[in-house]
């Protein structure tokens, strides 16, 4: 670091007004060209491969030109030990071409006027949002929120003791294996894992008979195609996602703090609540959001286990796009869901910066 600090004592940047004007004009030209390429690429009649190449080339070309202009207008010294920033350009190009621009299209479609069969008239029409806030959709959204919230709660109840046990009590040489076992279900197809519950919860399976002979239920299991089945599927699929980040924080816990507290007379429960829970709060919050957010957009699990009889908001959006071809309304709904989720993300950012300030990094 000391070496880097010495070399970056840059000489004061000398003003080169003419270079800056030329740079600005060149930059605007490149920007115009990039926009032109993106909007007109369909009418150029190119094949798929040249289009991809063009898209991929346009952005780095833009960035490289910008960097060159910056260099021309300002003197800067380079840190020789680091890797050059140019290495990030491929990813940057990819993100621009296949993430940011698609999102811009989504926003554009959300305020366009639908013409049917996926066609739209570009413009500024808030009618889609109005339609998206229809009580029918709001009800589905609230059901989604409730299902995801209950699912998250169940995951916390199931996952926290598990992570706690691995981090504190499991034999040290077994911990790697125990963690690997949590990931192994991920290596079977997500759909297979989900549809296995079609077998397990079916009234023909022996579980149903057992529950009946134990007098726990009167009739054969009738869980399939209900919200409860979806709930089970959600918990099952997202539990590992919660355990892993939580384990990462629990692993760093200093258990001597807990021992000190109990030695000084705190009860086990008080020590857990006041020390362990607080110190693991960042991992808990991360894990919770990591499962809550994807659950809100889930449509495959309800499709499989709900049998099309219970809709979550994801199913509505999916049908609007793939069946009704109402891209405009679908985009508006997707944006509304994203808006609702950004509330949780903001909450997360707020909580994580606050805990960081409280306890240090």
């Amino acid at each position: 670091m000391a070496v880097a600090g010495a070399t970056t004592a840059a000489p004061p940047a000398t003003a080169r007004p003419r270079g800056r004007v030329a740079g600005a004009i060149a930059g605007l030209l490149v920007l115009a060209a990039a926009i032109g390429i993106y909007t007109q690429i369909g009418t150029l009649g190119l094949g798929l491969a040249p289009s991809v190449v063009l898209l991929l080339v346009a952005v780095p070309a833009f960035v490289v030109t910008g960097a060159a202009i910056r260099r021309a207008t300002r003197t800067e010294t380079v840190d020789h030990t680091g890797y050059p920033f140019q290495l990030a350009y491929p990813s940057l190009a990819f993100y621009c071409a296949f993430f940011i621009i698609p999102l811009a299209f989504l926003a554009l479609f959300a305020v366009a006027t639908p013409l049917g069969f996926g066609g739209v008239q570009y413009g500024f029409d808030l009618g889609n949002f109005e339609a998206g806030l229809d009580p029918l959709y709001v009800e589905v959204f609230l059901r989604t929120l409730r299902t995801a919230a209950i699912g998250t709660l169940l995951i916390v109840l199931g996952g926290y003791p598990l992570a706690y046990w691995i981090a504190r009590y499991a034999p040290e040489q077994r911990r790697g294996l125990l963690l690997a076992l949590i990931i192994v279900p991920f290596w079977t197809s997500f759909l297979i894992r989900t549809y296995s519950f079609l077998i397990v919860l079916s009234p023909e399976f022996f579980l149903s008979d057992w529950l009946q002979s134990l007098q726990l239920t009167d009739a054969p299991l009738a869980l399939l195609n209900t919200t409860a089945a979806i709930q089970i599927g959600l918990v099952y699929n997202y539990l590992p996602l919660f355990v892993l980040p939580l384990y990462a924080t629990l692993e760093r816990m200093d258990w001597r703090l807990v021992e000190a507290a109990t030695d000084l007379g705190a009860s086990q429960w008080a020590a857990f609540r006041q020390i362990t829970l607080r110190l693991t709060a960042p991992g808990l919050v991360t894990g919770t959001l990591l499962v809550l957010i994807p659950m809100m957009g889930e449509y495959v699990i309800p499709l499989v286990l709900g049998g099309g009889r219970v809709d979550l908001i994801g199913n509505v959006i999916q049908r609007l796009f793939l069946e009704a071809q109402d891209y405009a309304l679908g985009s508006a709904l997707a944006l509304l869901v994203m808006g609702a989720l950004s509330f949780f993300v903001a909450l997360y950012l707020y909580l994580s910066t606050r805990t960081e300030q409280e306890y240090g990094a």
């Binding site: 990819f94 009590y169 290596w187 197809s189 997500f190 397990v200 086990q268 499989v304 869901v337 989720l341």
Partner: protein
């Protein structure tokens, strides 16, 4: 022997505790629904007894251990069910009729299954390769630049991971359709790679930052070129993270349903899409058989790579090159 008995006791204790809690929690629900029977009262009493007694009889660590065993059972039971039912001789979904391997043969002969798996492998391999190169390069570039450059990029990466997959899928669909791309393998590959690059970037950067830059600086000071430093110093130390990132990407891409469903177009079913289509017409044991075979292949591959990684770590450890 007493050790095994204690473990069994812990497991039973945890099971009793969970059942007790459920019974206690279920009582007010059935009360509010207005159908209280003698049975639910008995369940309440038994459940309360379990909740009170079990923590006094079993120590907390072993209770937690038993509870963890329960969660593991929950995680693995459905997979075991799929594997077992792959050997079901009957066509019925949930009734086991007898042992047979005919579904394995049926799955191997089914052209739609094998070609779907082939397509999935193709996309996953391509996406993992490209995402690993892009993500690793970006991780190297970003780790030591100024905050002003890094923060916007971090926000971008964070966004690609936080935006729900469904939103990414629908925006990709709109984009591809309007730009005039034909939906197919290429569009699926492109949409997967965006997400995968972020995955690799995060994994690799975490490792790269924790490594510190002293060895790289020493290498450069001693006259090695940037490329030689990368090849001989950075790359070997980053290898585990890069491999992990590549494997994560491959898994994500191979298993992805949502993005693929929107960007596949017609007639390009990947393996998950093939299962989804199969579900529409009802389950078949041939899907179970194919899934079982793939699980076997994955586990063998995982075991092999774990062995290789362990050997790599051992040789590296004996050379004493790992400073961090």
């Amino acid at each position: 022997m007493p050790d095994a008995l204690r473990r069994l006791g812990a497991f039973a204790g945890a099971l009793g505790l969970v059942c007790g809690l459920i019974a206690v929690a279920a009582f007010p629900i059935s009360l509010s629904a207005g159908n209280v029977s003698g049975r639910s009262a008995v369940a309440l009493v038994l459940g309360a007894a379990a909740v009170v007694l079990v923590p006094r009889l079993v120590s907390i660590p072993s209770l937690l251990g038993g509870y963890s065993a329960l969660v593991y059972a929950f995680l693995f039971a459905p997979i075991v069910v799929v594997v077992v039912y792959a050997f079901n001789s009957g066509t019925s979904v949930a009734g086991f009729e007898g042992f047979s391997t005919r579904w394995f043969q049926r799955a191997l002969e089914d052209d739609t299954i094998t070609s779907a798996i082939g397509r999935s492998l193709q996309i996953a391999a391509a996406s993992a390769a490209v995402a690993t190169v892009f993500g690793t390069a970006a991780a190297l570039a970003l780790s030591r630049v100024s905050r002003r450059v890094r923060n916007p990029f971090d926000v971008l990466v964070f966004l690609t991971l936080v935006v729900p997959e469904l939103v990414i899928a629908v925006s990709s669909l709109i984009f591809f359709v309007n730009v005039g791309f034909d939906l197919g393998l290429v569009t699926m590959f492109l949409a997967h790679t965006t997400f995968n690059a972020s995955l690799v970037l995060l994994v690799v950067r975490a490792r790269f930052v924790s490594m510190g830059s002293s060895l790289e600086e020493a290498s450069r000071d001693l006259g090695a070129s940037a490329i030689a430093t990368f090849r001989q110093v950075t790359l070997p130390r980053l290898a585990p993270a890069i491999v992990a990132g590549a494997m994560l990407s491959f898994t994500f891409s191979f298993d992805d349903v949502v993005i693929s469903n929107f960007t596949a177009g017609a007639g390009n079913d990947t393996w998950p899409l093939r299962i989804l289509a199969g579900l529409r017409f009802g389950l078949g044991p041939d899907l179970n058989a194919a899934a079982t075979m793939m699980l076997g292949v994955t586990l063998v591959g995982l075991g092999a790579s774990a062995l290789i990684l362990r050997r790599a770590v051992r040789t590296q450890g004996s050379a004493g090159s790992d400073v961090a």
